[in-house]
């Protein structure tokens, strides 16, 4: 090895060592540890544990009704949140793509909710949706409409959670905005000359041009909504209140690991099942993406 090569190798390990260490310690080790734990009956509060084989996986897949409900709730939640968030983000990005006065302020306003802590957001929405004296039901009352139970009713709690989750569409909006700004303006000028409607322009020019970014946002939003935790935890009192109606997968998993009887082994099995679910859904998203993503070339 030449002196130059040795120097390069040394520099490589010097500069990438920290991140490689971080990757191994905070990603690789936890993954292997989770796999190991999932085959044991480990509890945080019990120093003794045994290997239980596939028992945790069997229990989750075949017998645990609450887990099945949490899974169903999560899919329902993810479908609505991901779809609505994408629609809102795209709509907002298209509006903000116009050249109007003070557009920077509007962009900041739309992005601002993203940086507000979920804790504060949950309190604001609880105030909005309080069944007895919340802002929304008071306004409905003023126009002669009977208010609903919102988060206090198991029939409407999930809808309330979905609406509250739409708050933070700032990131996909920014990504859409960046993609929209890359679309050549000449295409729209030509389309206008040809008399194309707004919808036709969107269908034929805008969407194909941003389809790759759309797929990226679909995957990002789907994964993000599937692993949602904080808002559901706060609004459902950490237990999917009322009647398990807002019990999401992540909240259930957390409760298994960090609440009595602190079943870390079982929670690890749930985490791995979740990983497989995410993998399958991402693969489906990629498959569907082939139907609408247009190659730039």
């Amino acid at each position: 090895m030449s002196v130059r090569n040795r120097k390069d190798t040394r520099n490589f390990f010097l500069f990438s060592g920290i991140s490689i260490f971080g990757f191994l310690a905070f990603y690789v080790y936890p993954i292997f540890r989770t796999i190991f734990l999932s085959f044991t009956n480990t509890s945080i509060m019990d120093p003794l544990h045994d290997f239980v084989g596939w028992k945790n996986f069997k229990r989750a897949i075949l017998y645990d009704d609450v887990f099945h409900l949490a899974l169903k709730n999560t899919f329902k939640y993810a479908i609505f949140v991901a779809a609505l968030k994408l629609a809102l983000a795209l709509l907002a990005a298209m509006l903000l793509n116009n050249k109007i006065r003070g557009i920077g302020i509007f962009r900041a306003i739309f992005f601002l909710p993203f940086i507000i802590p979920t804790f504060a957001v949950s309190y604001v929405f609880r105030f909005f949706f309080h069944p007895a004296n919340g802002l929304v039901n008071q306004m409905l009352k003023k126009v002669g409409v009977e208010g609903i139970g919102w988060y206090a009713d198991s029939k409407t709690a999930m809808i309330t959670l979905v609406i509250s989750s739409l708050w933070g569409f700032g990131v996909p909006m920014l990504i859409f905005l960046a993609a929209l700004q890359q679309v050549p303006k000449e295409l729209y000028e030509v389309a206008n000359l040809d008399g194309a409607t707004r919808w036709q322009q969107f269908r034929v020019i805008t969407f194909p041009a941003i389809s790759a970014v759309f797929l990226f946002n679909v995957i990002l939003s789907t994964v993000d909504s599937l692993k949602s935790f904080d808002l559901a935890f706060l609004m459902g009192h950490g237990e999917g209140y009322p009647a398990n109606s807002t019990l999401l997968y992540s909240v259930y998993l957390f409760n298994q690991a960090f609440r009595n009887p602190w079943s870390l082994g079982y929670a690890s099995a749930l985490a791995l099942i979740f990983f497989v679910v995410l993998l399958v859904l991402t693969a489906i998203n990629f498959g569907l993406g082939r139907l609408y993503v247009k190659n730039e070339n």
Binding site: P47, D65, G149, E239, P242, N255, R259, W262
Partner: protein, 413 residues
């Protein structure tokens, strides 16, 4: 030569004295750690400091405001563990059996603990912890609202009829908007409905199986619902609870929790007291008795020292401070007697301490041998929520809860 020898001897002696003052010398004293909430710091820190200053066999290091569960999960368990009657089953291998240490200890006076509380943290014949505070279900009432409504304060002889009559009289409305509730509602956990079930003669667990489908249990669930729907004296899940008992617009709270006393006493306008629960459908017994206790971690490097520290923080002296400074209900008979010796009129809220300490003998602990919290919160409680919404009848709730809970137990055991 002699002079220099003297000088040398003096220097050595000085060095030895200095060494004794250093942390190295203190390191010989075993240090044991314990997590305590920040709210206790002002009350307990001087006591702990004094203890550390006068003991050479153990020093207590308090991690104020620490997170015990996270420390245990990170394999950095404190030497002393805060546990309770509902936790000892899951922590049976984490906690040291204190029985041999108690047997050797001539100063502990274990008979001074209320037997029911001591037994609640004994698991499979092993004394896994020593109790320091407890909660028992009681009737909490707002004196101001009772006076304003010209209703006599609750007595130990109250029946369910008296309770309903007072609750309805103290529920007031302005048009359709409630301005005060006769009785609060406890949603989201078993704190209230299980008392009604037990007072109606039912039980959560009977002969190792969940028995919420018994006629008695269903009667108890029915009363829990009827408070809202039939007697209209308690808020439903969608109603404005008016800030609950501490909001000052709720006349009574059924069951309650002694852990809420600091927040009640934090409201200067709230004049309140406690009474034993009214007689339910069948019995006046059935109040939940729960407790917290200090145990020793099996992972501690200084188990004997940790025991000595546990003995101190559950001693009559320490519990006296716990009671006088923090009003956390104490577990030793001698400290309770001293509290009861203060004339009723001179006591701060709550004044009826006879009801509190009397509740230890009439209260009932929760099942410890099964994952009670998990099954109740994940399986039973959602069905009770639906009953309150009106989606399920009490009979459907009892039947479905029993089937689902027994299924969950069969999987978990």
């Amino acid at each position: 030569m002699i002079k220099s020898k003297k000088w040398l001897a003096g220097s050595v002696a000085f060095a030895l004295i200095a060494l004794l003052q250093t942390p190295l010398a203190n390191a010989a004293i075993p240090h044991v750690s314990v997590v305590m909430p920040n709210q206790w710091k002002d009350a307990f820190e001087p006591k702990i400091k004094a203890f550390n200053g006068s003991h050479t066999n153990v020093n207590i290091d308090v991690i104020w405001g620490g997170a015990q569960d996270q420390l245990i999960a990170a394999n950095k368990s404190p030497d002393i563990i805060n546990t309770g009657d509902l936790f000892v089953a899951a922590q049976k291998n984490l906690l040291v059996d204190l029985t041999p240490y108690i047997a050797k200890d001539k100063t502990i006076n274990v008979k001074d603990f209320y037997p029911a509380l001591l037994n609640a943290v004994k698991f499979q014949g092993r004394q896994l912890a020593l109790p320091y505070r407890f909660n028992v279900g009681l009737l909490y009432y707002n004196k101001t609202l009772f006076d304003a409504g010209k209703v006599a304060y609750p007595t130990a002889k109250w029946t369910q009829k008296d309770f309903i009559a007072a609750g309805q009289k103290l529920t007031t409305k302005s048009g359709t908007t409630p301005t005060s509730w006769g009785v609060g509602s406890t949603f989201g956990w078993w704190g209230e409905w299980l008392i009604h079930v037990r007072q109606a003669g039912g039980e959560w667990l009977s002969d190792g199986a969940v028995a919420l489908d018994s006629p008695q249990a269903i009667a108890g669930l029915t009363f829990f619902r009827d408070k809202v729907t039939k007697y209209k004296m308690s808020p439903g899940a969608k109603d404005d609870a008016l800030g609950g008992f501490s909001g000052g617009k709720t006349a009574m709270e059924y069951g309650g929790h002694t852990g809420n006393w600091p927040s009640y006493n934090g409201v200067s306008t709230l004049k309140w007291d406690i009474q034993v629960l009214p007689k339910g459908l069948k019995s006046s017994k059935g109040a939940e008795l729960a407790l917290e206790a200090w145990g020793v971690s099996a992972k501690s490097a200084n188990i004997a020292a940790a025991y000595a520290a546990v003995a101190y923080i559950t001693s009559a002296d320490f519990l006296t401070t716990q009671w006088t400074a923090l009003r956390l209900p104490v577990t030793r008979i001698s400290v309770a007697k001293a509290a009861l010796a203060v004339p009723k009129a001179s006591r701060p809220s709550p004044q009826n301490l006879e009801a509190l300490f009397g509740g230890i003998t009439t209260g009932t602990t929760l099942p410890r041998t099964i994952p009670f919290i998990k099954v109740t919160q994940e399986v039973v409680q959602p069905l009770v929520d639906k009953m309150i919404e009106g989606t399920l009848t009490p009979t459907e709730t009892g039947n479905q809860a029993t089937a689902a809970a027994n299924k969950a137990l069969s999987i978990l055991q």
